[in-house]
Symmetry: C2
């Protein structure tokens, strides 16, 4: 049931700013198994810098995402509570969203998505004098997917006057501000358990924006 679509999928790989051939990586062929608007599953034959012969690998392509750490003037972190169908649970996490309809978004376009998701998911916006700080990116599961997320600190933030949070279509149930001690407890007790939020916290800590260490 393989659909031979090498050219299309090669184009797909190149579509990303962060994942592309070069430096000894070469996509020899690509067979698409399945695609809808959310995921594309391919098996690629790939030459790698360390191996002479191509190796076959099944890859799930996903759109890139933004993850936002919204911090209030008094140092609280804004989290949303969201129903996540794939894990059959509602969890507290940082606002995030996918980058739609942009093939190779530049930094400005990615920041615009971050501002939009902060408003749509959490109902917050940058306060006067507030700014976004880019904190790099990460890969959610590089063993099988090219999915990656761009991290942004948004500080300080305030609630929008026309709060549009808890959007039913987005399955967002709640939105709250958490003190740093509460955040640490939630991470320690496995209540916070998604890669976006945990990975963002590690980046924030080493950059001096959040204290994770137990005192």
């Amino acid at each position: 049931m393989l659909l031979r679509t090498a050219a299309a999928t090669l184009a797909g790989v190149k579509r990303s700013n962060l994942v592309r051939d070069g430096d000894g990586w070469e996509t020899v062929s690509s067979d698409r198994h399945f695609a809808n608007t959310h995921v594309e599953v391919v098996t690629d034959q790939v030459r790698t810098p360390a191996r002479s012969r191509p190796r076959a690998w099944t890859v799930v392509h996903r759109k890139a995402a933004v993850i936002i750490a919204p911090i209030t003037p008094d140092g609280k972190i804004v989290l949303i509570r969201q129903e996540r169908v794939p894990i059959r649970a509602a969890i507290w996490e940082m606002p995030s969203g996918q980058i739609d309809n942009l093939l190779e978004p530049d930094q400005k376009e990615i920041e615009a998505v971050a501002v939009r998701e902060l408003r749509e998911e959490a109902g917050y916006e940058l306060a006067k004098g507030g700014e976004l700080t880019a904190l790099g990116h990460y890969f959610s599961s590089p063993g099988f997917s090219d999915e990656h997320g761009y991290f942004f600190l948004a500080r300080p933030v305030k609630r929008c006057r026309e709060a549009s949070a808890c959007d039913e279509g987005e399955a967002i149930l709640d939105c709250r501000e958490f003190g740093i001690e509460e955040l640490r407890r939630m991470i320690a007790e496995n209540e916070i358990r998604d890669a976006n939020t945990l990975s963002m916290c590690a980046r924030l800590a080493v950059r001096g924006f959040l204290s994770l260490d137990r005192h």
Copy 2:
């Protein structure tokens, strides 16, 4: 191109210790689009606690994994450098591996996988008096996948006499011990950029096993 395999996939969902129906979650139907030994792609119709009508969601099933933070007697962290085909890059990360052939593994079986991966991927083992400490679990991308990883601290560790690391089949290029300041720098500068390692670091920090804060 839908294959109607509701019963099989429902069984798949139940196969996990952590992802299952109950508490208002109900899988009404499940259509499988694709499956090989690495991924299974389905579209589920799911009733959720917050919504009266079922919603359709495309889910990529993956095996659960273990992630190990190996710490030496002098407080260094052992990382491996591995070629990751889906992102066309080799990255420094903590040893990890999938839990194969176990439908509902208990804690002992999961720990055995952690010890095995520590040896196979890094070429390390627990030193005398060393022990594994379970640090909960996390979901790598709960918006589209049920993939989850169990975190273990392994401390103290030592290099195996018959070091079998840098396994070519595993695409592991290197294995090294890093001081905590070097680790912080690598996280800050986006050199460490995978969810396993970043998320583990957040858990380690709040539990008091690692200092992430910038001093």
